[in-house]
Symmetry: C3
Subunit: 273 residues, 3 copies
């Protein structure tokens, strides 16, 4: 079923406006191209409204945020809301600094997000609404495991209900919920954590998936998570013994480039709770 | 003949100042190193005049422009003109936002460019001088094809004459004209469009080619286009079945790293009209 | 002996705050992940103090500096000093512009650096304390060679003593000194100069090495230099005939991903003077 979402992306070639960090921006662009979408990057306040207007979706990622780009995020977000575009928030580092936490919370107040995608620590920070400083990667103590899965699913549903957004909490086990249902996804490979920006890449990809599948947003978000995880599995299978995280980065994007309906339907590993 | 231009780049190791977007900047740097040049990046107004002074050429790319970097573009451009350096404009997204269109047009008014390189939609926007919003990639309706080639060649020549710059319009068929002659180039591979920044890379490369070939600027610009397209062909020939756009990006830069006079003279596919 | 330093990085997983240029930032992040560390990037003045507080080390790289990020460098540097964190300076382009030279010198006045890592021309500029304009890559006339090695070692020791920082001067022959001893390192491959950012990557890596080895900072700095050079040798051994600088970049990071105590102890090529 999720395979249809991939096909729609290839057919509709969604144009996605990304306000994203300069660390992983090149990979975000190449991932969007790999899945059949088209990326545009712009963060200057005087530029973002025009750029977002010609796109179908907006991906707001607060990594390496600055005062200028924060202004751009609000302007672009409001314009995208006005136009009924898909809007995604990636709260990179929420919990790691007051500026990041507060910016993410203020964006959630003023902009209507179709999806919020982050790691469990970032999402917990947003749920609590407080600016405590923890770290940038997910805290080990927070990790979603088979043992605390029921609780984590309940948390995901509650966060989705309270925020009014689909939530995608990614990690070893991924959760994607709209408040009613929750996809529990077990694709992926632990070595993906050794590559910078797989989360950022997923946010770009997911925005494209929602733009191309506006009538099944939850499925589209879950499909994007499965695509990324499955690409991580396929990419890993092509690694030579001496290759490491830099080549693995290429292998994952390459696998997305070849991803199609059949591959995803066969390889997606999820249940719905 | 164009092969000489490659040799001159390897021998003269041109130093190129790039004010360029943060999406593709790493690839621009590696492409310049691959062809034998040397890249420097700087966009801070207080820094750009010193940096451009020690270089031989300046590559101005307006992707991810902001108010600070725009100021840097004008300061660096004027200084490079004063010093008689090569200056290239890459009007990324002209037509996609008023800020981009107007910045490109104002740069063309105040700075003397040796070359302007863009896709057909960007160049048409500059030719019309108006800020209509279209998109970032070339509009399919605008594409240069075998059917409209005579008309497109005439347009390229006219634009070159009116702007006083060599124009390089790149796409499936590339056109490079100084107003009198027009190189029609048929190197390349359609899959290059699935990699972010091949245009940006070409602009960096082309700046280096002009710096190293000041007495044959038109040939140098055409040679850079042929090098990029031929590298796209050679790189594609080394791709394994499971590899995609991310590995292809590396393969193209790798092919430029190995490009020499003989390879280019044998592989360049062009006619002059 | 240096191999222990690698093990400590893998065991302690140091969190490193990088204020670094947008050209090579992705590679810096992946190199830190490859060696077992964890990178965070932030340059906004309102964000840097919180971010640096949760890290163990701070890597300040002045490539593509701007007025905002310069303010961020001073704020983060002072906070890191307050907290007793490791702080490294990479004076990219000192000597190439007045802004870069003066920013590096002012940082050295106000911030206490554990290590300063640069090429010989950058370090000579800092030693002279003057803002003459030379270039961004090391000047050939400055190069450390077997012929001028005694003089270069004396210079490194003197600079370390005067600055109160460990100095790492990297090039064909690398020198790492704390003023008393000087590691003379002969790992590496000349083709590393054809990849953008191997110096920036080393600065990120070195910061992680010092954070994980606080009681043997000189050894840690020398170990990072050996790791980078040895990875350049190992990566080169895996190159296919048609591969070039873009693939080589991946191969080097891949080799760091596989680097361990035994490999380094066997491959490190140095003497202590």
């Amino acid at each position: 079923m999720l395979g249809n979402c991939v096909e729609n992306v290839r057919n509709k070639m969604p144009l996605v406006h990304n306000i994203t960090n300069y660390v992983t921006v090149n990979d975000v662009a190449n991932v969007l191209l790999a899945c059949g979408g088209s990326p545009i990057m712009s963060d200057e306040p005087m530029d973002v409204e025009d750029i977002t207007s010609i796109c179908g979706g907006l991906n707001i990622n607060i990594g390496t945020l600055n005062q200028r780009s924060i202004e751009g995020m609000f302007l672009a977000g409001r314009k995208a809301n006005e136009l009924g575009h898909i809007v995604l928030l990636d709260p990179v580092g929420a919990g790691a600094s007051a500026l990041r936490t507060n910016t993410a919370l203020k964006l959630m107040e003023e902009i209507c997000f179709d999806v919020i995608r982050g790691n469990i620590s970032e999402i917990k920070t947003l749920a609590k609404g407080s600016g405590t400083t923890k770290g940038v990667d997910a805290d080990v103590a927070d990790a979603v495991t088979e043992e605390n899965l029921d609780e984590a699913v309940a948390f995901a549903k509650e966060f989705a209900n309270n925020s009014g957004s689909i939530v995608a909490i990614t990690g070893a086990i991924d959760l994607v919920s709209d408040g009613k249902e929750c996809y529990v996804i077990r694709n992926g490979n632990p070595e993906m954590g050794k590559i910078t920006g797989t989360g950022c890449q997923l946010s770009g990809l997911m925005t494209g998936f929602l733009v191309a599948n506006p009538d099944q947003k939850l499925e589209a978000a879950a499909a994007a998570v499965c695509v990324m995880g499955l690409a991580g599995e396929i990419g890993w299978s092509h690694m030579l013994e001496f290759e490491g995280n830099s080549t693995y980065r290429n292998r994952i994007i390459d696998a997305i480039y070849h991803m199609d309906k059949e591959t995803l339907d066969k390889g997606a590993n999820y249940e719905v709770r």
